[in-house]
């Protein structure tokens, strides 16, 4: 079985340089011809170009994240349009792409009756490593993902977090140039999520491997991403570097115990565009310093004038729902104007289901001082 070894080290050289695009797509469309439900459009004219680094792929469940990843792997053929990974076409050069890419599926994919070492070694062999190299790299990968002595145990005895690590290790074992991780934090508790995200960030930063991380929680992966691709219902919402996202406009969340309807009206009167998000009101901070100050002042005045008990005032980064910001603000306006202060009319963006699982939202401090909360969350990147 070692006779057919051919040195293909040249294949490991990515065609796209450090400055080039890791993933490119143009007019990428995928339709499924469903027998019962008719044609389902999973991806709809996706055009993007993403540079190397840690890339967040955000979208609600069913937005087309997994479909995009499978097309990038060459496992699904696009209905129309084209895409390239590391400079290779996903249709014509899929096999070349798959030698350079590590894939971690969303679902469970591990056999319970083998040890992690055996499994990752086997997957290394299936990725084209000779026997000895596969063993070595399996041990290294498992060590990198934080599985030490446990790796000699049967996978069936592992916790969810450990299984996710094994899935990550098998994607890493072939020394890929790009990793495609589909919902790597799925099913993990907050601590496990943090650990997994740290791991991904480390792989991206220290190992020099580009990573595409799909998630429905922007709040989660925004901490580790260099750039972000947001899709909804198969359409591209935005693709930009992380700094562009944060710079565009930060959002201030105002939470009062009662009277949020009056506060909303008062803020509107002050020329702001408040938007309801759960119990909080979201107000856009301007792009410049003065504008922000003006917003802070307006809120302070409104709260003080109404004599409302202020619970929380904090600066937030964009989250999935805020990528829909324009529609959402309009919607709020409509709902608000019509109901004339219907306090519980919950207006949220199409992808607002992500709020339920957002870990850092609930752990945020309830500090009411705008100055400290603002700087605290502003540049953790």
């Amino acid at each position: 079985m070692t006779t057919a070894t051919t040195p293909t080290a040249d294949a490991a050289v990515p065609a796209a340089g450090p400055g080039g695009a890791v993933i490119e797509a143009s007019g990428l469309t995928k339709r499924y011809a469903g027998a019962s439900r008719g044609t389902v459009t999973a991806l709809d004219g996706l055009t993007l170009s993403v540079p190397a680094g840690v890339i967040g792929l955000v979208g609600a469940n069913g937005a087309g994240k997994s479909t995009l990843i499978k097309i990038l792997l060459g496992l699904l053929a696009p209905s129309s349009g084209s895409a390239a990974v590391l400079g290779y076409d996903v249709v014509d050069q899929a096999q070349r792409i798959r030698t350079l890419v590590g894939y971690m599926p969303e679902h469970d994919c591990l056999p319970p009756d083998v040890t992690a070492t055996e499994f990752v070694t086997h997957m290394g062999r299936m990725g084209g490593l000779p026997p000895t190299a596969a063993k070595e790299r399996a041990a290294e990968s498992l060590r990198h993902v934080g599985l030490h002595e446990e790796r000699y145990r049967l996978i069936g005895t592992y916790s969810t977090g450990m299984k996710q690590r094994v899935k990550l290790a098998q994607a890493l074992v072939g020394d890929p140039r790009l990793m495609l991780l589909d919902e790597p934090t799925n099913g993990l508790d907050p601590a496990g999520r943090e650990a997994m995200l740290d791991l991904i960030e480390r792989i991206g930063a220290e190992f020099g491997i580009s990573i595409l991380v799909a998630s429905h929680l922007l709040g989660e992966i925004e901490q580790i991403c260099d750039s972000l691709v947001a899709i909804d219902a198969g359409k591209l919402l935005r693709a930009a570097s992380m700094s562009a996202f944060t710079k565009a406009s930060a959002v201030l969340a105002v939470e009062v115990d009662e009277g949020s309807a009056q506060l909303g009206a008062a803020l509107k009167a002050a020329g702001l565009e408040p938007r309801r998000d759960g119990r909080a009101l979201l107000v856009r901070l301007g792009t410049s310093e003065e504008e922000s100050d003006r917003v802070y002042d307006a809120i302070r005045d409104a709260v003080a004038d109404l004599g409302l008990p202020l619970n929380r005032l904090e600066r937030r980064r964009h989250r999935v729902e805020e990528l829909f910001a324009d529609e959402a603000f309009d919607e709020f306006e409509r709902a608000y104007g019509a109901a004339g202060g219907a306090a519980e009319s919950s207006v949220s963006a199409p992808a607002a289901d992500s709020t339920s699982g957002d870990p850092d939202r609930s752990t945020e401090s309830t500090d009411s001082d705008p100055g400290t909360t603002g700087s605290e969350t502003a540049d953790d990147h």
Partner: protein, 324 residues
């Protein structure tokens, strides 16, 4: 590409002495990579080993090796029989047909491990996200199962041959024996190939191990019972009649008619048996399957067609996007 990463330095590879565990940082892999064919070969070896329970727990070895022992027992008994009395215990070309039960038991135990396991655990996307093409995986698996089956069929035939020529004297006797042996060996190959392909196809539609085992067992046993019953119901009378006092007598075989011949096509083993009778030009004296005459060509055609169809369906099965 990763010049700023590894503290071990790029390209140092195996030069680093190991033994002490440090966090040496990430090391890229610049060594050789086996190509797609090498991967298929690795998957083939891996599957072949698991088909014999190697690299798995000790429990996984019980059925394969028990089956091999049972298959070899007649050959060993034959060696004694030939050396003591000169009487052959079993003919080369009747061996597989007589012991098809063991072959089916082996397949029912092993095929789910090879095929259904990856379906059940949803490991297939991990294979297909690597260099392997969609057809490579089932080809490697079915080849491995055929090879594993060859161990179970050819080894007993070989033992039978070795045990017999040990008691043969003179070149002509050995030559005669060898000429009888080759059809038996060929039959072992035919049984291995067709049984393995059919069993693989049956198992690839379910991830449940028990269902796959059941499907394989029911298919081979069920069709065998039905086929054999129909052969008799449609008018076939055995050439050998048992008398009431334990003796027996042969009757001259007449043409059994088309009914028993077609009934013989309903089961792979009966089909192969009929085909063999056609090729060697005679039926064994106590055969349960009618001598098909020219109809044997149909047996051959159906067998080849069946295996081709099964392979086609197998390949198509692994093209399905729902496996991802």
């Amino acid at each position: 590409m990763t010049t700023d990463t590894a503290t071990a330095g790029p390209g140092s590879g195996a030069a680093n002495p190991s033994g002490v565990i440090h966090d040496i940082g990430y090391r890229t892999y610049d060594g050789e990579r086996i190509g797609r064919l090498g991967i298929v070969r690795a998957l083939y070896w891996h599957s072949l080993r698991s088909a014999w329970g190697l690299g798995r727990g000790s429990k996984a070895k019980i059925v394969p090796f028990l089956a091999l022992v049972i298959m070899c027992l007649p050959a060993v008994a034959n060696a004694f029989s030939v050396s003591r009395t000169g009487i052959r215990a079993i003919a080369y070309d009747e061996y597989m047909f007589s012991f098809q039960l063991v072959l089916v038991l082996y397949l029912a135990a092993v095929t789910p491990e090879l095929i259904s396991r990856d379906l059940r655990n949803r490991t297939l996307p991990l294979y297909f996200s690597r260099q392997l093409r969609r057809t490579d995986y089932p080809l490697a698996k079915v080849s491995a199962l055929i090879t594993a089956m060859l161990g179970l069929t050819a080894i007993p035939e070989l033992l039978l041959y070795i045990g017999t020529i040990g008691s043969r004297h003179g070149a002509s006797e050995v030559w005669h024996e060898t000429r009888a042996f080759f059809p038996g060996l060929l039959l072992a190959v035919v049984y291995s190939v067709s049984f393995a392909i059919l069993a693989t196809l049956l198992a690839c539609y379910t991830g449940r191990r028990a269902f796959a085992t059941g499907a394989v067992a029911v298919f081979f046993f069920g069709t065998w019972v039905v086929s054999s019953a129909l052969v008799h119901l449609t008018g076939f009378r055995p050439h050998y009649h048992h008398g009431p006092d334990g003796t027996g007598y042969f009757v001259k075989p007449g043409d059994p008619g088309i009914g028993p011949k077609i009934s013989g096509l309903l089961n792979p083993a009966n089909m192969i048996e009929g085909m063999k009778e056609w090729i060697v030009g005679r039926a064994p004296e106590n055969s349960e399957i009618p001598y098909p005459g020219g109809f044997g060509a149909v047996n051959l055609a159906v067998l080849v067609g069946l295996c081709a169809l099964a392979l086609f369906l197998l390949m198509r099965r692994y093209q399905k996007a729902s496996l991802l």
